[in-house]
Every structure is written in C-alpha cells, then in structure tokens.
C-alpha cells in the first residue's frame, strides 16, 4: 500500500513532465535540421492563399525544426505541378519541401496530365496544415436551389472554370456520380473571374473553398447547394453533403473524391527524403500546430488550421490510391471533352 502510494506520488510528480514530453520530444526530433537552411517551395503566387498560410506557419515551423533559416520560395505554375515536379526530382539530402494543394497533384496524376511527372503516393507526406471544405454554389438569382434542381435541368449545367484544376476535376466526378449533364466553359482567368460569371448568371455554378464564397453567400450573391466533404459539419448543418446525396453505387467514388480534396494544404517531401528528416519534419509540423500562439493567430486572421499528422496522411495515400482507381477514367474523359 505504501509502495502503491509512493508510486502514485512519483507518478503525480512526474505527470507535468510527462504531459510536456511530446513537445520536448518534438523539439529534440527537430535537431536534424538544427542550424540548417530549409526551403519551403510554395506552390502558388506571392498573393495566393497558400502563401498566406505558409507565411503564418513559417516562424513556428522554423522554431520547432530548430533550423537556422526557413526560407519561403514561391514556385507558382501549372496549378502546383511545377513545384511538385521540382520536389520529385530533388537529390537525396536536399532540405527542400513542398507546401500547397496536394489534392491537385493527386487529381492531375489520375487524369494523366502531361505536366505531372511524379507518382504522388511516393512523396513523403509531412503533415497537413489546413483543409478547407469545398462548396458548390450557384448564383444568388439562379432558379437552382438544390442538387435535385440541377438533376432536373433540361440542359447541361454550365460551369465556368479556369481549366483542368481541382474544381474542374471535382465537378466532373460530381456530374458522373449525381447524374447531371455538365458543360465546362474553360478559359477563365481565376476564381475571381468564375465567381463573377456565376453571380452574373453567365454560368450556373462553381466549386470554391468555403471561406472564398462565404462573403458572397452572406450577401446573397451566391447560394450554397452542396458541400463536397466526406462528413457533415456543424458549421453549415443545412447544406447537404455530397456523400449523403450520392446514390449507393457512386458513394465510393464520391467518398474518394472528398478524401482527396481533404488532403488540401500540406507539406510534402521528395521520395528520397531521409527517414530521420521525415520524422523530424513531421514532429515539427505537429508541434507547430499545437502552439497556442499559432492557434491564436490563425483564429484572429480567419485562417483556420485543421492539422493531420504526416504518417497518418502517408497511410491514407496508399489506401486512396487503391480506392480511387474508378476516378481515373472519369477524369480522363472530362479532360478529353474539353480538348
């Protein structure tokens, strides 16, 4: 009894230290990068959303990596393919990683895009920073108010798009799964352009990140029809979720698509990345995400975090590659249709 009490007392005394162990262990793991220069290649322009997140995360990541400098380099182009190709070709020992939209890489590869010279599942997944839910919106004055309305249209659903990027592929999968005709009008310059086209009524609707359309939804310029996520969310309970609407035969395809979209903004490293470097980077990302100062900054700046451990992502990628084989022919057909 005396021994048990003593053990409890020791355990009690050690508890605070044990509770802080993950943080300490993480700090130790980042010794791999101690005093080194780490380059984060952002797959987007200096003004884009990826850069905003990368800049917010950089000081915390630098701190937990213990790096001499964490340098952010913008590498826009090809919807992230250029940065991904760059990372794919890195020689062993290069302290460079990719930060940007991972779902685009997966989709481009499945669609057989000539710009994708990599196998996305072979990248080293180092941790997700955020995953913004995607929403299908229509114009505020549109007669369409639900997916059923889209299915009942006696003409194709006109979808203004930049080209073969993430929303194009997503829309192709939705059209196949939910059984409506789609007319993709490609060539728009960016999301601003496609948003205006939807608001004006030139196009029926498009897919964006939730925060991107939130202002227009609040002002009545856009109307949300469906969330393209794997799970319903308490933040928008009245908007149906694609995985609930899809017919049973197509649930698998839709689920795979939603899971791909949820990979969103992540850090990835080259396939040749040293396992010790992978472990240290993953630990540093995890530690940064738990930093109260970062969490406060993200809340204040409305750049919400939704972290996922890199090791968990890596396992999910293997599963995803298996389950998403049905997506490939749909995506290839969609690309062929606009060429």
């Amino acid at each position: 009894m005396k021994n048990k009490r003593r053990k409890l007392m020791i355990a009690g005394a050690m508890a605070p230290a044990l509770l802080s162990l993950p943080g300490r262990a993480l700090a130790q793991a980042s010794d791999h990068y101690k005093g080194k220069l780490v380059i984060v290649n952002i797959a987007g322009s200096a003004a884009g959303g990826h850069t905003r997140f990368a800049r917010m995360l950089a000081p915390y990541l630098e701190k937990y990596l213990g790096a001499k400098e964490l340098r952010l380099v913008n590498m826009p182009g090809g919807g992230g393919l250029k940065a991904a190709n760059h990372i794919w070709r890195l020689k062993p020992g290069a302290n460079e990683v990719y930060f940007g939209n991972v779902s685009t890489l997966l989709l481009a590869n499945m669609a057989g895009s000539p710009g994708a010279t990599f196998d996305p599942t072979k990248f080293m997944f180092l941790g997700r920073a955020t995953s913004e839910p995607r929403v299908l919106t229509v114009g505020g004055k549109s007669a369409i108010r639900s997916v059923a309305d889209i299915q009942k249209l006696k003409r194709p659903f006109v979808f203004p798009s930049q080209g073969t990027d993430e929303d194009f592929y997503t829309m192709a999968v939705l059209s196949d799964a939910l059984g409506f005709q789609l007319k993709a009008v490609t060539g728009y310059e960016g999301n601003a352009d496609t948003s205006l086209a939807v608001i004006k009524g030139d196009g029926d609707g498009h897919i964006t990140g939730w925060s991107e359309s939130l202002g227009a939804i609040r002002s009545g310029d856009k109307y949300p029809v469906m969330m393209v996520t794997s799970q319903p969310s308490p933040d928008y309970p009245k908007i149906p979720v694609v995985t609930q609407i899809a017919p049973a035969a197509k649930k698998g395809v839709v689920q795979a698509m939603a899971t791909i979209l949820e990979t969103h903004r992540s850090y990835i490293g080259p396939p040749t990345m040293d396992p010790a470097a992978v472990a240290a980077f993953r630990a540093a990302v995890n530690a940064a995400m738990k930093d109260p100062a970062l969490q406060a900054e993200s809340t204040k700046g409305e750049r919400l975090l939704s972290p996922m451990d890199g090791a968990v992502q890596q396992k999910a990628m293997v599963e995803l590659a298996r389950s998403s084989t049905a997506l490939s022919p749909i995506l290839k057909a969609a690309v062929k249709a606009i060429q």
Binding site: A47, G78, D202, A216
Partner: protein, 497 residues
C-alpha cells in the same frame, strides 16, 4: 455621401496615416523603378508589416506604394526603354524617343502630371459612379473584354509605318511566343518541347526586358556612345514644358482617364491593355498620327493618365463583390480581412467612408508622387547621358536581376538574353518590337475571351451582347478615323489645287 467624403478624408489626416502614405510612396517609387518588380510585389512585401495599425494608415501604406510603382515604371520606360512591368510598355513608344531627342525632363514631367491628372479625374468619377458600379460590372463580360483587346490590337497599324507586312510579321511572332505554354482553354501544352519551364510560358515582363532594355544596351555597347551624346544632343527641355503639355492636352487626359477607369472596372483586363488602349486612342484621334512612335508627348500623357485612373476602377470589383480583380487586389483583400473589414455590397453602403478614404488615398498618393517626381526629374534626366561603359553594366545587371526576380528562375535570365538578341535584330532590320509585344499581350486575352463568348452565347454572340456590339462599332470607327482624316486632307488638297 458628402458626410462619407468628409469622414473618409478625416480618417487620413492623422500623423500615422500621413506618415504611412509618405513611406508607401517613396518605397513604391523605388520598387517601380526596378525592372520586373511592380505593384504586386510592393504590396506583398509590405503586407506582413501592416497588422495592428489604423485602418486608414494600413490602406495608405499599401495603396500609396501600389500607386507610386506606376510612375516608377514610367521613369525607366522613358529614360532607358526598360518597362518596369507590363504597364510601362506604352511609355517606351514615345517616351524613349523623347529622351533621345534631349527632351527627357519634358517627358518625365508630362508623364508625372498626366498620371496626377488621371488619378484625380479617375477618383472624382469613381466617387460619382459608386451607385452604378455593381450594375456596370454585372453588365460586362467576356465579349466586352474581347472588344477591349481588339481595340488594343488596332495600335499595330501605328507602328507599321514603312512596311505593313513587317509590322504584321512582328505581331504574329509575338502571338506565337504568347502561345508557348499551357493552352488556357484546353490545358494542352503548346510549343513546350517537353520543357517544364516552357509549360508556364514566356514571362511577359522578362520578354520586354530583353526586347527593349537588353537590346538597347547591346546597341549602345556596339556604338560606344551614351543614349544621349551631349556633344550632339543637348537636354534643352524643361519640367515646366512637360507640366504645360499635360495641362494643355486636358481633353486627351480626360478621355484617357475615363478609359482607364472603364478598363479598371473590367476585372481581368489589366493595366497593360489599359496603356495600349490609351495609346491607341491617342494616336487614332490625333490630327497628326504620323508623329506617334517618334517622340509625341501625347503618347506619354495618354498612357500615364489612363494608368493613374485605372487604379481606382480596379478597386471596384474588390469592394463591390469582395472579388479581387487581380493579384494586387487579392493582397488588398487579405489586408481587409486582417483589419476586420468585409468587402461586398455592404462596403458601398455601410462602409462608404472607408471607400472614400481609399479614393482620397489615390488622390493624395498621386499628388505626393507627382511632387516628388517633378522634384527629382532634373537629376533623373541626366542618367541617359552616362557613358556607355558605365551605363551598360549597370542597366544590364539591373535587367538580369529583374528578370530573375520576376519568377525566381534562372531560366528567365537566359530568356531575357535571348530576347535581347531578338530585339536587337528586329530593330536592325526594322521589324517593330512594339508590335511584337502588342501581339504577345493581346493574343491570350483575345483567345480566352473569344472562346468563352462563343461557348456561352454562341456564334452570333455579338447580337446577344449589345454593349459588345457598340464597342466593336467604336473600335472600327476609331481605327478608321486616321484613314478618314487622311482621305479628307487629300480631298481638300485636291480641291485647293
């Protein structure tokens, strides 16, 4: 509304806001003068330093820097034929010939005064048009953007003097270069030869640095004399002449400013097209179009007035819909979110004082840029008379650093060098470099908007889009105007004889 105008100005009259405006303007001038860097880079670099300050001060810093880059661009275009960004291209056409004729001070002063007048006229009309902004934006679409691009294309004839065939050949070459990369419509690689670098296309500012700046430096080093040899050409112009030029051409300034405002409101059209369209209307409505391309001061005033007014128009899609019309506006949107301001329809009703603060920032920043610009013009005008052995290494270094800075890729330095050789050969054999870049700027815009118009509205889209049809008739009329004038002159001369 009058109350909002007053409170918008009052918010700016704090020591912090005025200081930030001044810092932004100085910083923007420096960034603008560096080739390859423009308003987007200026704002992106400032953004992390803006949190925690007054709303008006933050906007003064960002917008002040953005506006100052415009005249910064113009300076290098006029003095060295080095457009700092796509916006400054039209300034090379007549600004640089003026410098070579010993009229650098006059050109710089006309440019600064034109930009000031354009900025103020643009801001006034912007304030008056605020209630109409949303309906106007909603009424315009890809067909109208297509017409704007076609208008820019009509300027090709201005630079084809001597041989229309050579002028058209240069334009077609520009179009072909613009098509390098991923096809914007079908996402198919074009002319990329399996190169990943070429998949993103040839960067327009890099091509311009090569075609104009590098080729001019090649010419200068071969010749061994400065841009202006003071023993042959004296700098006999004055700053006052430039100011008088801009004020004297008030009707041109008003037309150009309204054009700039109009183009600014069209999201996605861009300031490079604004400069070209302004140049086109100045040349086509001039009674002596043959002077254009050879040092006509109107060719300097019109693009600057348009670009001065363009900034205010560019704010509108961002404010009215919360949709950024371009990269610089995307940065402004980030700043708004950081400040807790939500752009959208309510911005034009509930936050009208903030909108007017921005209008005032445009006015005050333009005044500050012009005062500083006119003050430093006499010193700037001396730069082109630097000896070639000093000038060539300095300008080439800045050019190649600028080419690298554009996208952070070493391949762009090679592209700038290649385009330098191309530009040198084109100039030597009298193929217009201006036509080359006009083809390059407008090709993708025309392709993109023609495709979307045909897809959305069908083959007879012009019948569905009355504004586009009216714009097309206007384009045809302005393109035909010089020919009509020439025909009338010949007829009058025939009667006289």
């Amino acid at each position: 509304m009058i109350e909002a105008i007053g409170s918008g100005l009052a918010a700016l009259l704090t020591p912090q806001a005025l200081l930030f405006l001044f810092i932004g303007v100085i910083y923007g001038l420096v960034i603008g003068i560096l080739p390859g860097l423009g308003g987007v880079v200026a704002m992106a670099l400032l953004l992390p330093f803006t949190y925690g300050f007054e709303t008006a001060a933050t906007l003064a810093l960002l917008l002040g820097a953005h506006i100052a880059t415009i005249w910064g661009d113009s300076v290098t275009s006029i003095l060295f034929s080095v457009p700092g960004s796509a916006k400054g291209l039209a300034l090379c056409f007549d600004g640089y010939p003026m410098t070579k004729q010993g009229k650098a001070k006059r050109a710089l002063a006309a440019s600064a005064t034109g930009a000031l007048m354009g900025g103020i006229i643009g801001a006034i009309f912007l304030a008056l048009c605020i209630p109409l902004i949303r309906p106007v934006i909603l009424a315009l679409g890809p067909s109208e953007y297509l017409m704007m691009a076609l208008w820019g294309l009509t300027v090709i004839a201005t630079f084809s003097e001597g041989s229309l065939m050579k002028g058209l050949t240069a334009s077609v070459l520009g179009v072909l270069v613009a098509f390098i990369g991923m096809d914007v419509v079908t996402a198919t690689p074009r002319f990329t030869f399996g190169s990943e670098f070429l998949m993103d296309g040839i960067s327009f500012p890099v091509a311009m640095i090569g075609l104009f700046a590098v080729s001019e430096m090649m010419k200068m080093s071969i010749r061994g004399t400065p841009i202006i040899d003071r023993s042959l050409v004296r700098e006999d112009s004055t700053v006052w002449q430039g100011i008088c030029d801009a004020v004297g051409h008030w009707w041109l300034v008003i037309r150009s400013s309204l054009l700039g405002l109009w183009i600014g409101v069209l999201p996605g059209v861009g300031a490079s097209v604004a400069g070209l369209a302004a140049y086109a209307q100045a040349a086509q409505t001039s009674k002596t179009p043959e002077r254009f391309g050879k040092g006509a001061v109107e060719g300097v005033i019109a693009p600057d007035a348009t670009m001065g007014a363009n900034e205010g128009g560019g704010l509108m899609p961002t404010l009215a819909f919360g949709i950024p019309g371009g990269e610089s506006m995307a940065i402004l949107l980030v700043a708004f979110i950081g400040l807790g301001v939500v752009p959208g329809p309510e911005m034009l009703t509930k936050n009208l004082d903030l909108v007017f603060s921005m209008v005032w920032i445009i006015v005050l920043a333009n005044i500050a840029v012009t005062v500083i610009g006119l003050g430093i013009t006499p010193w700037l005008a001396r730069l082109p008379s630097l000896q070639a052995n000093l000038m060539v290494p300095i300008v080439l270094s800045v050019c190649f650093v600028g080419a690298y800075a554009t996208r952070g890729r070493i391949e762009d330095v090679v592209v700038a060098a290649v385009f330098g050789v191309v530009g040198y050969l084109m100039d030597k054999y009298r193929y217009s470099r201006a036509n080359f870049v006009i083809g390059m700027v407008l090709a993708v815009m025309i392709e993109r908007n023609l495709h979307i118009s045909l897809n959305l509205y069908g083959n007879d889209f012009l019948l569905d889009r009355p504004i586009a049809l009216a714009m097309l008739l206007f384009v045809v009329f302005t393109a035909a105007l010089p020919f009509l004038r020439s025909w009338r002159r010949r007829r009058a001369a025939g009667r006289g004889a």
